[in-house]
Symmetry: C2
Subunit: 573 residues, 2 copies
């Protein structure tokens, strides 16, 4: 199409409300339009990108025997009551009633709908295994949408659901799905996506993987072992700490530590290291506001996902008032008093330690010489700490962990029987016995993937789209289109490229070359052909790639062939 | 794909809750699954049909310079407040609030979103005209969903919006859109779709057309002139009545008509024709329950759309109690008393009449000899009547109108400036003057079109899908797949067809031929190839078309070529 008819504005100034580059470029390049918090309209260039991504996903899902279906966006609450998620999911799920006061929800995921679709059909083992998927709009009422399309409330997602008669069969299919996901990212031109073990959160199930595109602006932290290649979301990575006790345990001694509320202040005042301290972190359970006091080594942070999973309920940072008995800033395990229901927990990092500093549960006082085995006998330790950069790999046990940032661009789960069981889906096995099928589920957010590609492949001037998902394949610039020869040559090439099935965007506006090129940069089309009076004098067209790796002269008579050849070579297989 | 892996059940019994054939066949054939009132999931065969319809629509929209975009399903109420529709639309629009109590709506149409997307961009006349469209989920809280996919609450729709600087330009584009719509229906294999002038209802605007697929189960009535080809939705068709006055007007006389409440009863009792009576139809305005008394010739019915448009507000049938003064069953224009605010209206059909029967506003009494010009001077007449079968064509004035039933499978509107004006969208014209752009909008419901095709092209055994939108192109049946030769031949043809790019569904189940064929009928694939021991003995395959027009023997070595040739010939251009 012609650029002068393309709707949407392109401009230079970075919008002040854009924290990350992909967001700024998608606004500057006329890709997205803000409609409401976490809700965007898509301009044509983005729609072209996402349609191509969708088609790649579709082909890879079909290749692993997926069958495309369509679930509703709006579902009856009763369906979600069957699985128990109508009550267990919080305000991320939009609930409303229709004109007849029937409660409905907006789909944020479709496990329930998938089971509802097939539970009568798949009533005998011969129907298994099978996988169904859809590419459809979802709505999740995120508390904090951010980063343009990175974290939104309304989004298009491919979600797939597989059904199996055995764990082995699920695991085999899970491997195929994993491979299909790798294919999707490779074909979309992403070479920086890794799969990591993850915490399954509200999806239930045991084994799950997230596909992470590594980028500094990612909101997830990923533990990667440089030695053995182990990867995991920090939320799911075990923290391994090897402590050595001092040979001699000092006695527990109360010391005055005026105005020392934080571990840093106390350790600075007492001239010791945070590793030689026990820090208290206090939460309250959402359900009854009862306190959870967690002790952890002073240099480590709490992994709240591990804590939540251990407790089996949601928590929030504690509000400590005078009535609760807790002495904020001076909390310690010895002589701790908490009024009302509470739990006291100890992280693995405190195992086999002595001579620690900790709070004395008294304003302006700490203990030194804490030896938990001696001073708090019969306590249990669990893993509640965040894995750290330079930490020990849980797989190869080498001290080789690094922590990187990543954007989650897909995830796969071994769901087990959580949904089939709660929703009464069964089948008859070979022996005529009633069994519950086992599920897997597999998601990719289309818009987020597009934004992530932009985030990891751009320069200051715009996205650098991989050929397979670029809005167009060739950007044709007629510089000085008021020059008759230029116009004629460019018009002809435009027509020839279209006839050859090449997706071409044609800029024949009578504007300065600078304007033309900065617009082209923002559209990020991989190949650019420039026809100008100077080029024509030389009897050539100019060909450049958006990523600057290519700069050559095109013989007009070979232009179409050369471009077709390049396009084919630039589409990852 | 192989039929034994296709999810969804196929069965013979017509479900008792299906009033129309397409609904029954879509349930019986494993196309749709009921999720909630007016909400369905789509099984793979339907998804394949709708994707093909979507692609045809996309190509036709692109061919008239449409640019594909994507609007949100969930929109902020503020956007709809700008146009005034947040309050003017009733309970069909779903309203809810998010976690921050911000009011949101579910999109039932996207004029507001379209204007919001382009109003900064299209700020100068050089940007015009342009058209944007999307194919996206919509939700409309219909009071009475019915007929499977014919009238649902959640649906996928292609909606397009064009923007122009003059009415002439809109009209020119409107013609192109009209043509593109004809192309869509033709390519989808529908030869029974006509375009009719329609009432634009809540969309605003003046000229609009509905595309109607003619079928007895349609919920719309369409006036078609057999002489000149005039078509219109009955809601929008002018009613033309030519009355002749009797030479002599009798005097107005009160007659006793005991227990005669209806026109039929009165005319029967007085031995006169309904054409010689004035019937009263009473409504109340929704806004204040004030009465609307409408007099119309006794043999005609009120077109409530015309009445609503005239009044400029919504109405409902009146509840007549003792306090209002109206004498139900005996209402007449002479001496009519209504307590409180009210309007009295007269239909054109009463113009130039005399010697009519009408109510005397007194229990068990009517008048005869009514002459409105004499007895009710200074009244105005308007067109409030439904056009009738055998009526006068408003175009050619011949008495040649017929009334047919149809399903609306698309509509196009000349919107004017309703949305651009209310939402403050302007541009600078050539002379630098601020102007308001003019809009058109163009909709097609994808699922309804699929169901309508099924409704108009099926037999008792299943849909007969046109090639261009069929879920598969060839249905391959291996009858007696336990026969090694049959299995080998069928497997080979399956592979060859797939390699040739033919969409084939392959039934190699070891089931009776009857079961196989009834499943094939339900899937409605246009071409069926049968390989059986008997055929192989003859050295041929059997080829039949689903519509029974074709029954031939295929030489195995030419099978793929012959099928490809047939498929190409069966796809409407």
């Amino acid at each position: 199409m012609k650029l002068d008819k393309l709707i949407g504005d392109r401009f230079k100034e970075r919008p002040s409300d854009c924290q990350i580059d992909s967001h700024a470029l998608m606004v500057r390049g006329g890709y997205i339009k803000y409609v409401a918090n976490g809700i965007f309209s898509n301009f044509p260039p983005l729609k072209r990108v996402t349609r191509k991504i969708e088609q790649i996903i579709r082909e890879e899902m079909d290749a692993i025997d997926g069958q495309e279906v369509m679930f509703p966006v709006v579902m009856p609450a009763s369906l979600w009551e069957e699985s128990g998620r109508y009550t267990s999911i919080g305000s991320e799920m939009v609930r409303f009633t229709d004109r007849n006061r029937q409660p409905l929800v907006l789909g944020m995921t479709h496990e329930e709908a998938a089971v509802q679709l097939v539970r009568e059909y798949a009533n005998t083992y011969t129907k298994y295994p099978f996988m169904i998927y859809q590419i459809q709009t979802k709505f999740r009422d995120e508390a904090r949408p951010r980063g343009g399309l990175i974290r939104v409330r309304e989004f298009t997602m491919k979600d797939a659901y597989s059904f199996h008669t055995s764990q082995e069969d699920l695991e085999e299919y899970y491997k195929r799905a994993h491979k299909a996901y790798e294919n999707v990212y490779r074909r979309c031109g992403c070479d920086n996506v890794i799969s990591v073990k993850s915490d399954s959160g509200m999806m239930g199930g045991a084994v799950s993987h997230e596909f992470m595109m590594l980028t500094p602006i990612g909101e997830d932290s990923i533990a990667i072992c440089k030695k053995c290649g182990y990867t995991a979301n920090v939320e799911a990575a075990p923290s391994i700490i090897e402590n050595k006790r001092d040979d001699v345990s000092e006695e527990l001694r109360e010391v005055n530590t005026p105005n020392c509320h934080t571990i840093e202040e106390v350790c600075g005042f007492l001239k010791t290291e945070p590793q030689k301290s026990a820090k208290a972190v206090v939460y309250q359970k959402n359900e009854d506001d009862s306190f959870v006091v967690l002790f952890i080594r002073g240099d480590l942070d709490v992994n709240e996902t591990k804590l939540t999973n251990y407790l089996g309920c949601d928590i929030h940072p504690a509000v400590i008032d005078e009535e609760c008995g807790i002495v904020a800033g001076f909390i310690g395990p010895v002589g701790l008093k908490v009024n009302g229901k509470h739990v006291v927990l100890f992280d693995d990092s405190l195992k086999n330690t002595n001579n620690l500093v900790c709070g004395a549960n008294k304003i302006d006082y700490h203990f030194t010489g804490l030896d938990l085995e001696r001073d708090c006998p019969e306590i249990e330790y669990h893993d509640f700490a965040k894995a750290i950069d330079g930490g020990i790999c849980p797989e190869c046990k080498e001290r080789a962990l690094t922590i990187s940032r990543g954007i989650e661009v897909g995830n796969i789960f071994q769901l087990g029987t959580k949904y089939t069981k709660s929703m009464g889906m069964t089948y008859l096995d070979k022996d005529g016995k009633v069994q519950t099928p086992i599920m897997g589920c597999y998601g990719i957010g289309v818009g987020r993937l597009a934004a992530s590609v932009c985030e990891s492949s751009h320069d200051d001037f715009g996205p650098i789209w991989p050929m397979a998902i670029a809005p167009w394949q060739v950007h044709l610039c007629a510089v000085r289109s008021d020059d008759e020869k230029v116009k004629a040559a460019a018009d002809k090439l435009y027509g020839d490229l279209q006839n050859a099935g090449v997706e071409v965007i044609y800029d024949d506006r009578n504007v300065r070359a600078g304007v033309m090129f900065s617009d082209a940069d923002l559209l990020g089309v991989p190949l650019r052909v420039i026809i100008s009076p100077r080029n024509l004098d030389e009897g050539v067209y100019e060909l450049k790639s958006r990523d600057k790796t290519l700069d050559e002269k095109l013989a007009p008579e070979n232009a179409v062939e050369r471009l077709k050849e390049l396009i084919a070579s630039m589409i990852a297989k």
